[in-house]
Symmetry: C2
Subunit: 249 residues, 2 copies
């Protein structure tokens, strides 16, 4: 059984201010916890059901973190999932440096993404297409929100997120000639774009798209062509289509 203090600590991590205060976040569910244990994140504690512990004793025993046994009910009470009969972990947050694109690399830039499900989905898509660095505006939803972590399906272990003022971020780049792609209604058809070797892909807010502060740094406005009548695409869907087009030879 979990002590009151541990339960209180775990539930506090559902809130951003306590994640920041403790420098820790929650990872929930069998798959995410197993991906986590295989990553280089520093794990502070794993809370596991008896069953999960028995099935993964080797991964859990060899590591220098605390292990607590709990019932599925307790896991649900401590975390944010509607059901969890496996485990959750408390993990130390990482602080990332300025993540500029290196030669031959692409960085995904998020301008004011508000929905945790969207951010998690975008991390997963970035991981599928081999993007390792994401730079987020300060208004973008918190990377360590349990809903973001869950929606990323383990990809949070492989993609780094960095939060900064995007204006200042791009200002620091003005000397170099760099390609910054952003999706706009009036851009060039993405089916006809030849992407530069190195660059940035900017995705904008769910309702308002890319803000004017960031727009002025976009060198190439692109558009996903529409063949029917839907008014728009979800920003996660749009990210996937842009990255798929970028990766085409």
């Amino acid at each position: 059984m979990l002590s009151k203090n541990i339960l209180k600590y775990l539930t506090s991590l559902q809130q951003k201010k306590y994640r920041q205060e403790y420098g820790a976040f929650l990872v929930e569910g069998a798959k995410s916890v197993l991906e986590l244990l295989a990553s280089d994140f520093e794990v502070e504690m794993v809370v596991a059901t008896d069953k999960f512990y028995k099935e993964n004793t080797r991964s859990l025993e060899k590591q220098p973190f605390r292990v607590e046994i709990a019932t599925p009910d307790e896991l649900v009470r401590a975390g944010t999932l509607q059901s969890n009969d496996a485990a959750l972990a408390v993990v130390k947050t990482k602080s990332n440096d300025f993540l500029y694109a290196e030669e031959g690399e692409y960085v995904l830039v998020l301008d004011d993404i508000r929905d945790p499900g969207n951010l998690g989905t975008m991390i997963r898509i970035a991981d599928w297409y081999g993007i390792r660095k994401m730079v987020c505006s300060l208004t973008t939803t918190d990377w360590y929100n349990p809903k973001v972590v869950a929606a990323s399906k383990g990809s949070f272990t492989r993609v780094q997120g960095f939060y900064t003022d995007l204006g200042a971020y791009f200002e620091g780049h003005l000397a170099s000639e760099v390609s910054v792609y952003g999706t706009f209604l009036e851009g060039k058809n993405i089916h006809q774009i030849t992407f530069a070797k190195t660059g940035y892909i900017v995705m904008g807010n769910e309702s308002n798209g890319i803000g004017s502060e960031v727009e002025k740094f976009v060198t190439d406005k692109v558009t996903i062509p529409r063949f029917g009548e839907a008014e728009s695409l979800n920003v996660g869907i749009a990210t996937a289509i842009v990255l798929d087009n970028w990766r085409r030879k």
Copy 2:
């Protein structure tokens, strides 16, 4: 104020068995209701806030359906949205015929899609890429589920859904030479596919993909290439990428 009977009728439509019994479904929120009023669906009743009614009197008055005024609280109680300060509508379901692909057309086929959010997203994506017909396995989640309607963002008014046994559906096609594309792990790279003029695109279950009953009718197995390490893509995301590749010239 809504009468008890109306409220009971509206909440009953959250359940598939009553939608089938009454041949009606719910459409919620300002945007969806306005798209509905511009469509050829037969509307039975609109429940609107005073504000929404005043802003849309012309659309609401000229039509031969019942209009009720309600508070936002009542709309939330009657429907499934967490907030709704505009309107909801009761609409007659449509029954569609066998939706085979006509010359030059593509049909999207869903084999056992279980999540209403995914189905709604797929309807929206189909609409974006100009697909008008979707054929769903009998195990696919109900097209008229309020979550499907909401996630489709109005696209349910433009895309037709037809439920049938997919084995029998494709059997009826065996005589004609037709291209059926389906996503599999071991398919041909979708970036290198030249799509036929007329055809079917099959998307499979969230966990298990396309079932063996349907697989045997697939003429072209395709794969979305992966450049990183994410284990999989969400089925809505995958649908968007396949349709974007199909639409490329």
